[in-house]
Amino acid sequence: MNLFRTALFLAKKDLYSELKTKQILTTQIIFAGLVIVVFSFAFDPANNTTKAVIPGVIWVIIVFAGILGLNRSFISEQRNDTMQGLLVAPMEAASIYLGKFIANFAMMLVVEIVSIPFLFLLFDFKFLGSFPYFILVIFLGSFGFIAIGTFLAALAANSKSSEMLLPLLLFPITTPILIGVVQATKIILTNVEKLSSAIAWIQLVTAYDVIFFVVCFLLIDYVLEV
């Protein structure tokens, strides 16, 4: 239980400091807004066929805004070598991972809560699908993406050019999640009759989430080892 206790302290520390500076969240949300605007240039919002790209746009926002936050989460610990402070403290490496994961995930959810309604509003999208399932897909997709993203951010933080390295590591590894959640979102938003196949996708994403969360938990010791 010590694992969760220290993880929560760490997550609280990160979120509280974010609350004070508001750097990352603001950047993420503004970035999400800009992506939406750029997409409105690329695909005419007045056109009805544009509705087909909405599921893709949602995940493009989440992925790119998420990358911004992930990049910062371990780099921010390099100032004054606070990472060393965490490493000499009596806690497991898994605790650090879990704490960072909780903080990143919470921030990701905030970005989603702000940007997705904004997207629907701007593209004049009438929500017809199943709302609980939509929430579930967003939740599971972000969970998996942030879980593996936090892990790889810890890995990439060892490099001097970690901002460039992280996307290269993260995107190939998360392809299954991205395929799964985009398909599931598409079905839920536009084609609710086929809900059973959306559920199949959700199961795939859930399986991925579980597998990689466990693998990351086991391997984080080696990443944070000094």
Binding site: N2, T6, F9, L10, K13, Y16, S17, K20, T21, R79, N80, D81, T82, Q84, G85, L86, L87, V88, A89, P90, M91, E92, E225, V226
Partner: protein, 234 residues
């Protein structure tokens, strides 16, 4: 308290520590002297579990470092060059956070008391980023002792401090010593070393070159020994 046996550390192809044997008893205050690149900081980092040794054994309080790292980390207070503080946090918030991680009871009162001890209670709620080097170092030492460690590992704690800060720092170290804490201190400052420490270790080329006790704050004795070991050979 600390027992190091045949410790080596190799980074890439460079041998930094080549077989260090050291035994430090409980309550001793040890200064580690030596030229740049001798491996002093590396030795300290190995003890602080920040560097994995290539070979050799380290026992702290009779516990093997590799196997019981959580228990050992609870005993250690580590103060490196950098402050390990979060910039936009106030001293209080920093100390409370680290105290929580270490599982300190009644952490808030403890933190306030420590900030008072290092003489910064006026700045209790100011963000650390506005502080001067001396103030940061004082908070940093408070951070290192927030959980009442039994072993203090200090890496050049006196550099860049003014006289007032040095005396506060020394008082803190001495009061820790009275509580029975063991202190290992890497330093270049012979004057401070003889003032606080009762044992001197000279490290050269990744090995312990000399190891002796000092009495009566005999600065000349230390300087002579040091010159004999370090400058005499080269």
């Amino acid at each position: 308290m600390i027992d190091i046996k045949n410790l080596t550390k190799q980074a890439d192809n460079k041998l930094i520590l080549r077989g260090v044997d050291l035994r430090v008893e409980k309550g001793e205050t040890v200064a580690i002297l030596g030229p740049n690149g001798a491996g002093k900081s590396t030795l300290l980092k190995v003890l602080a579990t920040l560097i994995k040794p290539t070979s050799g054994h380290v026992l702290v309080n009779g516990l093997e470092l590799k196997k019981n790292h959580i228990e050992i980390k609870k005993l250690l207070g580590y103060l490196p060059h950098s402050s390990l503080l979060y910039d936009h946090y106030s001293p209080l918030e920093n100390l409370v956070f680290f105290g929580n991680i270490y599982g300190v009871q009644e952490v808030e009162q403890k933190a306030i008391k420590l900030v008072k001890e290092v003489g910064l209670s006026f700045f209790l709620n100011e963000p650390v980023k506005n502080f001067s080097r001396g103030m940061i170092q004082r908070i940093a030492i408070a951070r290192a002792i927030v959980h009442d460690p039994e072993v203090l590992l200090l890496d050049e704690p006196h550099t860049g401090l003014d006289q007032g800060a040095i005396s506060i720092l020394n008082n803190v170290i001495l009061s820790m010593k009275e509580k029975g804490a063991t202190t290992l201190m890497v330093t270049h400052d012979f004057k401070q070393a003889v003032e606080i420490c009762d044992r001197i270790i000279i490290v050269k080329n990744g090995k312990i070159a000399d190891d002796f006790m000092i009495e009566n704050q005999n600065l000349r004795f230390v300087s002579e020994k040091y010159e004999l070991q370090v400058e005499g050979v080269s």
